[in-house]
């Protein structure tokens, strides 16, 4: 009998250990999307309600160390912004304007602002989900394929809440709904359209953000991605920002 009880206890413990909490799910969501360093070649296709499209292409390198993230981004198209470069060192940001051949320090707190006129905000480009310590997560429902989790940020954020459908296999977001601060008005929807495996990891290759009120949408496609690569520190300097060369 004791042995049976012990076996039952162990089984129960394993069940508890295996069961996902909303926090552990969202931690995994963040983990599968994070890396020490990354290189992304991105194409943004902006589509207005009338169906007219405009394209923007950017490449970005990112490197994290000791909790600080350095990012350098270059705009490749359209022609009006070609070779504009952004350097972000933790909370500090500089822009290089090729027409002026000038580096200028700028305010980095434009989280809610539109990124290049797209439906993505600067905050969305950083992350579309919240970590366990950034929001209160609640499991709303669960199906065979996905978890549905509501996240209410602890501190003031661009959004009042988000609802994320997380793929059970890859732990990548399949759909994210972004709500106003009143937590009832839906502002935007992010839909995953294509997944891919790169460097032995699942990534969201193509996703579309739609602004509900205007019908305007932006598709973001990863043309190339590399993770955990050795990036030269020289990329994250004002020298590279100004010259475009190591």
């Amino acid at each position: 009998m004791k042995r049976l009880i012990a076996i039952a206890f162990c089984m129960l413990s394993l069940c508890f250990l295996a069961a996902e909490t909303p926090e552990s799910i969202m931690i995994k969501v963040m983990e599968v999307q994070s890396s020490k360093s990354s290189a992304l070649d991105l194409l943004l296709t902006l589509k207005d309600a009338a169906g007219q499209t405009r394209e923007r292409r950017i490449q970005t390198l990112s490197f994290s160390e000791k909790g600080e993230t350095s990012t350098i981004t270059i705009f490749l198209s359209p022609a009006s912004v070609k070779n504009t470069r952004f350097l972000t060192l933790d909370d500090e940001q500089w822009i290089y304007l090729p027409a002026l051949k000038r580096v200028k320090r700028i305010s980095a707190t434009e989280e809610g602002g539109s990124f290049m006129g797209s439906d993505f905000s600067y905050a969305d480009m950083d992350s579309t989900t919240y970590d366990a310590d950034q929001a209160r997560h609640t499991l709303l429902s669960e199906s065979e394929e996905s978890y549905c989790i509501e996240s209410v940020p602890f501190s003031s954020s661009v959004y009042g809440k988000t609802i994320t459908w997380v793929d059970k296999t890859t732990f990548l977001p399949l759909l994210v709904e972004f709500y106003e601060k009143d937590r009832t008005t839906l502002i935007k929807k992010l839909t995953t359209e294509e997944l891919d495996i790169i460097d032995n990891r699942w990534i969201t290759k193509k996703l579309t953000m739609t602004t509900v009120s205007s019908g305007h949408s932006t598709s973001l496609e990863i043309l190339q991605a590399k993770y955990d690569l050795d990036l030269d520190e020289g990329y994250f300097t004002t020298r590279f920002l100004e010259t475009g060369r190591l």
Partner: protein, 431 residues
Amino acid sequence: MKRIFLLLYLGFFLVGAVSAFSGFDAVFDTEITEEDSKKTNITFSGSVDINLDYFFSGTLETSQELDLSLLVASDKVETEASLRFETQTLQVQVDNLSLTYFSSWGTLSLGLLKKEWGAGDGVHVVDVLNAFDYSKGFSEDLLAMKRPEPMALATFYGKTSTYELFIKPTYLPGTIPYEGKWSLLPASFAATDIQEPKTDSLSYVQFGGRAKTIRGNLDLGLIYMNGYLMQSGYGNFVFDYSDPSNPFVSSADIVYTKTQLLGAESTFVLGQWTFMGEGGYFFSEDASGTDPSLYNSKWVYLGGIGYLHPASQLYLSLTYHGHFTLHYDSVDPLKLDVDYLQAYDNKAYGNNITLACELPLLSERLTLHLGGTYQIETTGYVLLGSAKYAIRDALHFIVQGAVYGSIEDTSSIFKTWDVLDWVKIGVSHTF
């Protein structure tokens, strides 16, 4: 001198590069970016502008402008030529003709260059590398008003510091229009034969440098320049007394003032707020203020604050800037002293407030700009505004305008151009 630059430029152009920088080519797989690299090895770009200008004095003008840029880039060398052709003047202007060599220590640029120094938003007091062209009034685009000047500019990079050294073998003064609707010549000089000295010789050599460093939220720069003031001085006046009751200046020589600048610039960012500062001392060859044809020494200062609204990306900036001329005699000024001629309301100081704002709308299809400067002593002002709508990424519809004037009837550049308020509509196609 121009021929030497042209030959140098063409020489370097021919030895220029084989592969070009296109994003992070070294990081991404070549099979995808190789094609892009080939395309950008030689980049040909430009724009065609067709405008209709209406001056509220009743004049309607059309203008067409063609800008062409050729860029050849490699890992080590980048050559660039930018030309502008205007149908109104039928002249080709060189906007940039440069060669840049990239090395492990930094860069070396040679050619006809434009460079902006200073921390302010579109207005500076220590931006001394290029003189301005006032032949079309004020423009929102500070760089477009600058005259490219022959220079060599070396830039050295440290981990958080940048050091620039320049040498300009000659001197290119600002363009002050003496005739036409934008003329800034006082009425008393209307019949004056003005002689301009030749400044394209090595006797006008200028040099200087800037050191910039990053300290947390602060960018700090120190500037030194040994050269000439942009503003023209006047001397050797010859008076015509043929009508004794109404003598006038029949001839005058333009004189340029040799000066040294010790300056500083800083930018401090705190959240959405950006604080900008510039200051400096122009140590004139006429430090005692005794030569009426030369400008006296002066202090210059600028303080600005910028605010970025995170959600709308509305950017607003407010700048206070001015100068204080030393040894200025406001009680009994020589009426032909250049410091008096350039003074605001016969005061040793001049102070200005500049406001600028930019607002992107409709997913950045429409961009609104509004700027204005108010000259406190003379109550003169200029307001500049524009709306730029992207019909397509490469095709823009543009409405621009400017209003000049002064609240009180006090002489100033803004008052002089009071009748030149204008509005322009046009289309711009970039390729």
